[in-house]
């Protein structure tokens, strides 16, 4: 742990001194002890609530994507940056608190950006930030693109990891995390990504405006694929592929500012009646959602969504100046947070005092706001980031 080091630097002579150098006389302090070489820091097995995984896909240098483990309670970079690991070529992340592991999809070529391509999930140990395993795709096809929260999904109490493929044929690869082996690949024609559904299943979102729900058996084989009714038109009334999942409900915002509550407790996704994020007055100002990682939830049952005025065709991923916080059960906005300038992506910490992290796209700094009061807390920057556009509150 870090604090030990601090003692080592300024503490007493724990280590014997350099050969022949005596303790000084005349009031001069004794010399600094010789320090041990080769010490590598480790992290706690369980990450505190104030820790985030900041995923910087590094769009200007995609061979060098990175995840920074950041403690937002730290006062300086030494206290804020807990460690990093690489995630190469537009990967995605998910974390299992139960297994103390972080999973990252990566793509390597034998010669950096050329040569033989290999797709895999790298398994990182939370304590050592070292890779403890990898699962190689027999044929590379995993989804690569802008970072997504639901390109990967933990299923059945973190027993399985489901990973979205796009080649452009779509499917889901199922990994057993005990054996770290691929146990199945389920085709999801016309549908992408993996959203939680039931005890042991997932749903994908389809071009024709419905869900495809997959029910899996105990051994990972497919029991049934079910398509729901059409509930949106991807041309005229598109929804975001980015929900906030709170308990048994996944809230899918639409580009125009409605929210579809989707009951995911059963074996098949059940789409509820949409309601509007935007009041009639706000609707005159053309307020609508916007951003990359534009929505997240807290442990108090609320979701946070980036909003921008004057929305138009093409503005739906551009972020916005405000974050609106909703109580989705009451279908009511409970907080409105104005960014210092503008926000492009957000994430919320777990626990009773949720903290909101927002990417400021002007300088790529991370701004922290208090989830309850909405007040600006601090800016975290200068940690080496390039384009930190996906963040995850630690689990």
């Amino acid at each position: 742990m870090k604090n030990l080091r601090k003692v080592g630097l300024v503490g007493a002579t724990l280590v014997s001194l350099a050969g022949g150098v005596a303790m000084s006389a005349g009031g001069q302090p004794p010399p600094l002890p010789i320090e041990p070489i080769g010490i590598i820091e480790t992290l706690p097995k369980d990450y505190p609530e104030s820790w985030f995984l900041v995923h910087d896909a590094s769009f200007f240098q995609m061979s060098d994507g990175k995840v920074y483990v950041i403690d937002i309670e730290g006062n300086d970079l030494h206290e804020q940056v807990k460690g990093t690991f690489n995630v190469v070529l537009m990967g995605n992340l998910t974390q299992s608190a139960r297994r103390h592991e972080i999973y990252a999809t990566e793509t390597f070529h034998s010669r950096g950006t050329r040569g033989k391509r290999e797709d895999l999930v790298t398994i990182w140990d939370q304590e050592t930030l070292s890779p403890v395993g990898e699962v190689l795709w027999p044929k590379p096809k995993r989804f690569t693109g802008m970072p997504q929260r639901f390109a990967m999904l933990l299923i059945d109490n973190d027993r399985w990891l489901a990973v979205a493929n796009f080649s452009p044929a779509t499917s889901v690869t199922l990994i057993d995390l005990d054996t770290r082996k691929i146990i199945n690949e389920i085709p999801t024609p016309g549908c992408v990504f993996v959203y939680p559904t039931g005890e042991r299943g997932f749903s994908s979102l389809c071009a024709d405006g419905r869900f495809l729900s997959a029910e899996l058996a105990e051994d990972g084989t497919l029991i049934e694929l079910t398509r729901t009714d059409v509930f949106f038109d991807s041309d005229t009334t598109p929804i975001y592929e980015r929900p906030a999942v709170i308990g048994d409900t996944a809230y899918f915002p639409t580009l125009a500012g409605l929210v579809y509550p989707v009951d995911i407790s059963g074996k098949v996704a059940k789409v509820g009646e949409p309601w509007s994020l935007v009041s009639e007055t706000e609707s005159e100002g053309k307020w609508a959602p916007g951003g990359i990682a534009l929505i997240d939830k807290d442990d108090l049952g609320r979701f946070y969504i980036l909003m921008h005025p004057d929305s138009k065709d093409g503005s739906y991923q551009g972020g916005g100046p405000e974050v609106w916080v909703f109580d989705p059960v009451k279908q009511k906005r409970v907080q409105k947070i104005s960014m210092q300038a503008w926000g492009l992506s957000l994430a919320v910490s777990r626990g009773k005092t949720p903290q909101l992290m927002v990417t400021n796209p002007t300088d790529m700094s991370l701004e922290i706001y208090d989830g309850l009061s909405g007040e600006f807390v601090k800016t975290i920057t200068g940690f080496g980031q390039s384009t930190p556009l996906m963040m995850h509150g630690s689990r």
């Binding site: 240098q61 793509t107 070529h109 590379p140 551009g318 002007t362």
Partner: protein, 170 residues
Amino acid sequence: MKIFDRLFEQQARQLAQRSSRRGLLKGLGGLLVGGAAVPLLPVSRVHAAEKPMDKGDPSSCDYWRYCAMDGFLCDCCGGSANTCPPGTEMSPITWIGTCRNPADGRSYIISYNDCCGKSSCGACLCQRDEGDRPPYRPDKTNDINWCLGTESAAYHCSTAIVVGVAFEET
């Protein structure tokens, strides 16, 4: 290096629009392909020509072909609006936009073929997203890495190739 300015471009556009409402026309291409009944804007027939007309700066994000663009413009990377830089390979699979050419008033189908096999070009990042849809509509999404069907999955830059006229006033 102004990479953040460029990433921030959409905010700038947004802010500019809030005051001046400029750029409203940009959205039309996308709506048209969606089948919405938006009439074509009147086209000036005064300056008629016998040769096809294409105006604008292919190194600028404002160039009409880039209406559904999200990426580095190959025109700034050793390629052009419709060709790949040396030593890259062009993805055969792609997303499609429908953009209005202001010089002739027509809407064209634009194929945004990515150039692959070298790391991010890094120049002229351009995000306009008009008519863009999330990845469940692959034909209309630019959020996917389209370096598919290529030897390398490394994304370098994006082209904007005219592959057809969307429709024609007769």
